[in-house]
Amino acid sequence: MIGKLILTDLMKIRRKGIWFLAVLGPFGVVALQMVNYGLRKDWFIQQDTYSWFYYIRNVNAFTPFALVLGIVILTSFMASIENETNSWKQIIALPVSKWSVYLSKYTTLTILLVFATCLLTLFSVCFGIFLGLEGEVLFLDLIKYSFYTFLASMPILGLQLWISIISQNQGIPITFGVIGVILTYMAYFLPDWMIWKWPSLENQWDEPLINACFGLAVGLAIYVFGMLDFIRRDVK
């Protein structure tokens, strides 16, 4: 049942430019490094930081920002497809359980974001190789910094999806999301417990894995909370 729902959800995002956004995001992040390395290549060499290690951290400086922005836009998009002509009433009147409808939306978004994360890794590797950085390609580091960031931002995904789906007016989740993007941007100044800090993979123990694990756990908790609320609500 859930498989069929995901298939229909993937069908509904056709011609909406959503896949394009999923490509544009990671491309944009790497494009910023193209500018960075294009302008300051000599400076990096001079500073002895023209290596994979520093390159990956430079890429990662913009990933959280792009990812959170992407989550805000995609969740709102997904919700607006159903809100536009209030097709929630049509879906819920189908022989499907309400939780599977919610899970399907969540899974579709996860598919899109994982796709974008994979592209980010791919683009980073390609541009890194193009630059001819010093040393071996640090694949593990690359994958870590892409996917840990994704896992660490799962609470934001859960929260935005919930707000988008329950809001008739998509201005609310967008406003909330923009504040989130700004917070993500200021991650350095935020306390460790704030979910908007987590995608930066920074914490007082200097261990990115903590952010990823917490992200996964809290993300799933928020997802379950949103789903239970969705089940409880009457469909207008």
Binding site: M1, L7, K12, Q90, L94, P95, V96
Partner: protein, 303 residues
Amino acid sequence: MEYIVETNKLTKRFGKEYAVEALDLKIPKGEIYGFLGPNGAGKTTTIRMLLGLMRPTLGSIQIFGKDLTRERIDILKKVGSLVENPSYYPHLTAYENLEALRKIYGVPKKRIDEVLKIVRLSDVRNKKVKGFSLGMKQRLGIAASLLNNPELLILDEPTNGLDPSGIIEIRNLIKRLATEEGMTILISSHLLSEIDQIANHVGIISKGKMIFQDSIEVMRRQSQNKILLKVNDCKMAWNFLISNGIEADFSLESISLLDRKDENVAMVVRLLVENGFSIYRVEEEKRTLEDTFLQMTTEERAI
């Protein structure tokens, strides 16, 4: 009689307002049930509860003899519905819109072409719904509700926004579905004339309460034309008529005769005159179904 839908004291409260109050809806199998009521009477809220979109505050719903809260998914497999304005995805074509629903029902793909043909949208199957007229969107909504060959079809104001020829078309379609496919159909409307032409069972709801529920013949009988007689002493005249075996109703100022045949009226008049009653007026009261409906709903409002 076998009931496809049966609700027991169905109630929905929004805050302090009762949208639907202690509703006992009974829809017999194979009938077209007209669900009538003025705007805001609680028709759509009731339908939403029947489809499991809203949770009743109180009461229970049985569809196909099964409890809705417990076996919702099983029930919905055999129910088709169109609630209020049709829902669709404007950026997808008519075919893709139906395909998205077909996948979930798991019916064969050729069913999409069948339902498109039923609502005569085959020509525009590959056009985006964005460009459809309201009538076409409404028809697409009906096509969607027929996808799973439902045993129970629930249509909420299906002729809303359609032009006269569209209305006739939908009406014929609904009649055909009931006779040929044996579907039980619940159709809501605020227009009596609409229901009068297709339904064989009527439920009238006003302010969330069911004020009439029976076959349409019973309602027609209530709204037959009557002969009104005004005489000097109504009560005595009425007693006199009854004792002479004449069917008559007595109200405050007049006697009404149900049998409108000329000879009958003449006989009654003669009887009354011969027995010393003074007849002031003999008039025919014309009542349409619409009058009965209006009277029923406004009486409720007056309380």
